[in-house]
Symmetry: C2
Subunit: 143 residues, 2 copies
DNA sequence: ATATTAATGAAAAATTTTTTCAATAAGGCA
DNA sequence: TGCCTTATTGAAAAAATTTTTCATTAATAT
């Protein structure tokens, strides 16, 4: 996890952003989180490291991290549209397998979906640019 | 499209809900829409049929229709978490292919995904219950 | 150390969604 | 048909969420 932090820090720097105390606290909370968190929840967590952290900064930082692809939103049907989770698989495209009970999120790679998409593209004439997959179930512990 | 309306009406009735003027207006707007709409947009459209329709009723009706699986939310990354579109493929599971430019939504069936999910389930130990796929691209007209 | 300027936090504003409640109208039934 | 019951509605208010503004702070290059 410390590894993740370092990588993220470097990434921010290399993009010309400053690595502030507020951002560090938010990144740490994200890296520690096993489950997706709303801005509010993330704020609560991150404040354990940085007491005076404002919720506004959480919103701003999430927007930044989302732009840089360091976090991803978690969608499931109606809910959780505004929950975020750290992106851990650094290489390539991946998706989320979310536990309905404990909220734990597992990343899984893209494999085998390409085929489906290629056929879809051929059949519909759409120029496919991106896709988003989310799978919900119960993790081994929660079953 | 008129067909769709009739089916929806019957479905509401059979579930014990009343087919009111407000709901009819909302259903018509949804059935006519080629693209996903936010509650606000839907309200604007539906009011052309029913002038005094309140936005609250749109929210309530969407919640109901979502519960009955007559509409689905459209997600794409950060945006559109709160946009809805009518479910047209009546049988079985399907997903959305969304045009980035004009917002048009095409439904496509589930085929070939089952395999991917079966393998995922075997590998992770999750009991997979549902999934959500959304593909974004540009439709033939918009390319 | 200092200067530059991006980033922060607080407050206010804007936006979105939900709740409350009295009035209305849908659908069943005589 | 016309009445009765009760789900549904719309308006207003409240709650929740997100964004903007702006003076202050602190991260980084020098």
């Amino acid at each position: 996890m410390t590894d993740l932090l370092k990588i993220w820090g470097e990434r921010l720097r290399s993009e010309g952003y400053r690595l502030t105390r507020a951002r560090r606290a938010i990144l740490e909370a994200l890296a520690a989180g096993e489950s997706h968190m709303t801005p509010e929840e993330l704020h609560r967590q991150a404040r354990r490291r940085h007491r005076s952290l404002g919720l506004v900064t959480v919103y701003r930082t999430l927007a930044l991290l989302e732009k840089l692809n360091l976090v991803q939103r978690v969608h499931q049907g109606a809910l959780s549209c505004h929950s975020f989770i750290a992106v851990r698989l650094p290489t390539g495209h991946h998706h989320h397998l979310v536990c309905r009970t404990c909220g734990r999120v597992e990343e899984f790679p893209d494999c085998a979906l390409d085929d489906v998409l290629r056929r879809l593209q051929a059949r519909t004439g759409f120029a496919i640019e991106s896709h988003h997959v989310e799978v919900v179930g119960r993790c081994p512990e929660c079953q």
